[in-house]
Every structure is written in C-alpha cells, then in structure tokens.
C-alpha cells in the first residue's frame, strides 16, 4: 500500500508530487510514435501485425518497432505492444516466434488479455514486462491480487471502475495500475461483447469489432404476440453509443490516488490528435506535480483538447455510473473544428522561413495556428507560399507537398500547424 509521503513530499516548504504517473499514448504507426514521444509521452503503446485488437490500423512491422524503440530510448520513453486478442487455436502457431521478435526488437512490455499469451511470453520472451489488458474487465482487488500472484507487473483496470474502487485496489494490492484518461471506449465490459461476431461475422475479440454499439435500434416490448413500440414517431431511436472519455478534470485526483499510468486511447487517431492530447495532458500532469496545492485547470487546455475532439466527451465511471447524458442519441455529426494543415520540417531563424509538409489545403490569407512542445500556441495569417524549388504557388493543395512561407515566431521540427474549419 502506498503511503501519502510516497506520493507527495514537502520540499522547501512547498508540497510537490514525487510519484509522477506515466503518461501513456497510442500510436498507429512510426510517425505517430515519434510525435507522441516528442510531445511528451512517457510511454507509447503500439500494435504489431498480429495478436492486437485493431486489425484495421496500419500497425508496426518488427523493423519499425525496433526503430520506434530506438527513437523512444533517446527520450527515455517506453514502448508497449498490444497483444490483447483472445486467441483461438489457430492463433497458437507463430505466437512464440512473434513474442521472441518483440523481445529482440527491444520493446519494454506487452499488453495481454489471454493467459495463453501471458504464459507463452513468460516462457519464451522473459524480458518483456506483462501488463494485463482492460479486455479482462478487471474490476475488483481480489482479482487484481490473483494477477499479481501470477507475476504480472501491471494491470489495466476495467473502464467500469470508480475512483473509490481504484483507491481500495491501490490500498490492498501492491501492483502498478493503469487507467484510461481520454478517448473512445466500449460501452460493454471489454471482452464481453460479441455484437460484431453475431451481426457481421467479425470477431470483436480478435480485432474485428465493427462498432455495432454505435448503430441505432428500435426498442420494443413483447406483449403476448404483440410488439409494442417503446418510442414515439418523434423520438430518437434507441442508442448506446458512449461519449468519449475525458478525465482532464480528474487528473489531480488520479495522481493523488497513486495511479501509475494514465492512458490515452486511440491507435487509429491522427498525429494531430495524438500531439494535441498528449501535449495537453503533459502540461496538466507537470503543472499539478510541481505545485499541487495551487493548481487550477487552465481554460486554454480545455479549448486545446476541443480542437481535436471527434465526439462530445464525459468522465464516465471514474466519477460514478454514467447516465443518459454520457451517451449520444439522435444525429451527432463529427465535432472536429480544426484541420491539421502542416507539419514543420525545418525553420530558418534568419530568414524566418518555415519548411513545412502540407497535410491539408491552405492558401495565402488563411489564419493558421502553430503549436508544439517548444512553443506557446500562436496564430498568424499565411503570406506568400513557395514550393520546394522557390516558385510562388497560389495554394498548398497537394498532400505531403513541401512548401515554404514566412512564420513570424520561432517554430521547431515536429511543430504542427492547424487551421479552423
């Protein structure tokens, strides 16, 4: 059990947090991994070509993983690989080689649900840390104790656990706890939903989930043989689509609970999303840990998160069982208000000329915003744009096109440029 002084101590008359949680970010490919690390993630989770739960994501080859690990090591960051399918017999051949490959690539740990993979990793790739996936829907301290006795270093709790439950688990079992703080989530207990299997013959627990929970249904009651509609003509249909998780307001409480790792969901999300969310939570965690007793959430952090939000967000179970306001009914279009317009490759201080890779259409006269870990956000109006060869162009209209234009303040490689829609 953690004592209070293991979480915070008085230094020079001021309380500071000494147990800073890991900020864990998702990355769907090597570029996103580099961005996540550069923007302040302490660890990144990625998927390989097999055994992970996002069969539609780009996912990493072993070579890309090794390169990602090397990049992360320079920052002192860790790489975890999701191997959290519930395997079928046919997935057993090849598992040993795969896990050995991960170990050789230098990844730090794997996130696992199936005991088959836990025990196989222990046997053939003992250097890999093993973390229990949220797919096990672990929701009580006694089950956490079981997995500790099985030798796991860390457990990811069910997304259905509350702050009070996490406190009790932390008190009773000495094991690292990882919880989700941001992103999309299942509305079912993870691992206990096979809607996809039944509706589309795609195996949700092996990465085939087609998100049937986000579809609309009509609710009826059967009375004898009569079907009675439980909705009126004007009612929105029955839906069970959850709002995305957003626990920015609860980060102080999570840090005081001694939670070891705070996890952002979204291996399918863009680098703009990863950069924005990671940088905001980096600021929140750093600010709170430096001076917890005078900490206030800055409005600009909340605004920043909104700039990449896909959906409305809510705190879900951490603060109690979610009601209807934490679900989405009726028409709910994409919420995104900003486009990712460009990725900074270089900046010449003398000429104030940025070299930028285009990620979305922009043209002279557009108001754009730059952000990144080295700078405070600023906006400016785009002036003349030149292509790589120095020819003036009327707009940056080609994806991944290299363009140049003047930027008034200093920017750095990996900084991003966004544009309001």
């Amino acid at each position: 059990m953690l004592k209070n002084d293991q979480i915070s101590q008085i230094v020079n008359g001021k309380r500071v947090i000494v147990k800073k949680p890991e900020l864990l970010a998702p990355a769907g490919n090597l570029e996103k991994l580099k961005v996540a690390v550069h923007y302040g993630a302490d660890a990144v989770f990625i998927g390989g070509q097999e055994y992970g739960l996002r069969s539609n994501a780009d996912n990493f080859t072993l070579e890309e993983m090794a390169e990602g690990v090397q990049f992360a090591n320079k920052y002192g960051a860790k790489i975890y690989v999701t191997t959290n399918i519930y395997a079928h017999n046919e997935n057993i051949p090849g598992l040993e080689e795969y896990l050995q490959g991960l170990e050789e690539a230098g990844v730090h740990g794997i996130i696992v649900a199936d005991p088959l993979i836990i025990e196989t990793a222990r046997r053939v790739a003992p250097k890999l840390e093993v973390h229990l996936s949220t797919q096990q829907s672990l929701a009580n301290w006694k089950a956490v104790q079981f997995w500790k006795e099985e030798g796991l270093e860390r457990v990811v709790l069910a997304r259905e656990t509350s702050a009070e439950e996490i406190r009790e688990i932390k008190e009773k079992v000495d094991i690292e706890i990882e919880t989700f703080i941001h992103g999309a989530m299942c509305i079912a207990y993870s691992g206990r939903c096979v809607l996809s299997n039944h509706m589309t013959a795609r195996d949700s627990n092996r990465g085939g989930c087609c998100q049937s929970c986000r579809w609309d249904y009509d609710l009826y009651k059967l009375d004898g043989s009569q079907e009675i509609a439980l909705f009126d003509e004007n009612d929105d249909p029955f839906a069970m689509s959850p709002k995305d998780l957003n626990l920015i307001q609860s980060i102080p409480k999570m840090i005081e609970l001694g939670i070891d790792s705070l996890k952002i969901e979204g291996r399918m999300k863009s680098i703009h999303y990863v950069a924005t969310v990671v940088s905001v939570y980096r600021k929140v965690i750093d600010a709170y840990c430096a001076d917890p007793d005078h900490f206030v959430i800055q409005k600009e952090w909340l605004d920043e998160l909104d700039k990449c939000a896909n959906r409305d967000t809510a705190p879900a179970f951490f603060e109690g069982v979610p009601g209807y306001k934490e679900q989405m009914f009726g028409v709910h279009g994409k919420k995104t208000t900003y486009d990712f317009a460009g990725f900074v490759l270089d900046y010449d201080r003398d000429t104030k000329m940025v070299t930028l890779q285009q990620r979305n259409f922009f043209k002279p006269g557009d108001v754009v915003e730059f952000f990144g870990p080295e700078i405070d956000n600023f906006t400016q109006v785009v002036g003349t744009i030149w292509d790589e060869d120095g020819n003036e162009i009327d707009a940056a209209r080609h994806p991944l096109q290299i363009v140049k234009f003047k930027v008034e303040k200093d920017v750095f490689p990996y900084n991003m440029m966004r544009k309001e829609r």
Binding site: A87, A139, K142, A143, E165, R202, D218, M240, Q327, F329
Partner: protein, 309 residues
Amino acid sequence: MKKPELLVTPTDVSHIHALAQAGADAVIVGEQRYGLRLAGEFKRAEMAEAVEVARQHGIRVYAAMNAIFHNEKIDELGEYIRFLADSGVDAIVFGDPAVLMTVREVAPHMRLHWNTETTATNWYTCNYWGRKGAKRAVLARELNMDAIMEIKEHAEVEIEVQVHGMTCMFQSKRSLIGNYFEYQGKKMEVEKQKYEKGMFLHDKERGNKYPIFEDENGTHIMSPNDICIIDELEEMVDAGIDSFKIDGVLHESDYITKVTAIYRRAIDLCAGNREQYEAEKMQLLEEIEAIQPKHRPLDTGFFFKETIY
C-alpha cells in the same frame, strides 16, 4: 459410448422435478447478485431446496457465480461460498478470478467450472484455468465445430458446450434501457419498466430482434436466434464432449422441460443407437420447431460459421 451430461436451467424449485423427469443430469441455479443471466432467481432458501430436490432425483446442482465482481461484493463471497458448500452444491461456475481465490481460502475442495461466456476460445487457456483449479471449461459460443473438436482433443479439463437456447452478445454496467427512457423524458417509466422482461431491440437492416434486459449486473443483449443443433450431435458425442447445455434464459418453464426431454432422447440415441438417431433426428428437430416461440427463430449458432477479423 460415454454420454455427455445434459445440463439445463430451471426457472424455480418445482421446475427441477419436471426437468429431472424429462432427463436432465444437472441443473445450474443461482441469484443475480452473483450469477449472470439465469433462467430463474434462486435465493438461499431456494438454493438449499434445489439441492434437496436434485438429490431426490440423483442429479447434480451447479451454482452460478459468474458475475463480473466489483469491490463491494468481494467481502461477502467467502460467506456465500461457504453456504453453497454447506448446502451441498456439486460445483461453482465462475468467471472472475476473485471467486477462484475465495474458493481456495474457504472451500478448497469445491469443484469449479470456468465460464466467462466469451473468452474460452483456445485449448491452452482452458487448461490454464484447469491448472488454477477449474475442473471444467465452458466454451465460448462463437466457436465452430472444428475449433471445439481441437479444444477437446487437447483439453485436460472437462468441456461444456451450449447446444440449445439463446446466448449473450453483450453486457454493459450501464443502465441502457433506463437511460433511454430518461433521455425520452419518461422518468416515470424508468423504475416501472426497466427491469421488465420481454423487451427487444429491432435491427431493421438485418431483420433481427435482440432481447435486451437489465438487472443488478447491468444491461444484457441476447442473440436474435436460439441455437439448436439437436440433429448435429454426432461429432461432439464421438469426441467425448463432457456436457451439453440447454440455456433456457427468457424462455417459459414448459418450453425448457419439453426441449430437455427431446434432447434426452437425442443424446441417448446418438450415444446408444446411432442408426436410430440418424433415422429420427430430423423428427426431433421438427418437435422443437413445433414448440418454438414464433419470435425466436432457430439456427446453428457459430457451429458451422466462420468469423473473420
């Protein structure tokens, strides 16, 4: 030839008499405080009675403790398990490792059956739970016949397979029916209706009707069809599958009893007189079709279906 156990789900104590007479070898009972999606609610008094009735008929009783537990119930698990052991139940069905841990502490000789519904998908993991103390694994319903055969071939634990009835597709901790009523502004309906049975979700695109209900464990959504493979039992009987389960959740007692009797005949013939089974099996299927509620079509589940991912 070894006959698989016929395991069924009674709706109340008196139903156990009827099921035993219809040929059940074992029943699974419990209360929603600890068990999931049960055909009937058996509080402690009924639980004790259930064991007595089962004894009279010489059949076994398994207690359902397969809920996903949160901290609040952990402290009472030991006392409940002791009660079950004292009552003489033959096994406890669990999914959450907290139950396994508690059984080790308070009733180490209690027989355990591992059942998480969806995650028993390979033979290694079935054997893993066997090494942790389970004597039986209940296979996920989303497996096909070949996968079931391969698991049985490698299994060091007994293997239970559901052969009839609806299956669970989804469990949420959220009050999804109640939330919908609240969203519609029908606050009064929430407490009145949300625990009612008989509701379903209509999926217009697929033409399916999925039963949905709420209880202490959250919201459950069930398969649109009832599995029925009464005419396809040969392979599993030959392979020595240990238990065939008929899940009667959300069905009438009388229906469950009749289905039990029909499967009793099918199993006896399939194991004892294969020629007669082959001659009669389509008729047995027709007998079930004749009593099938019209809103519950029959199908063969995932037994002959491939899933991709």
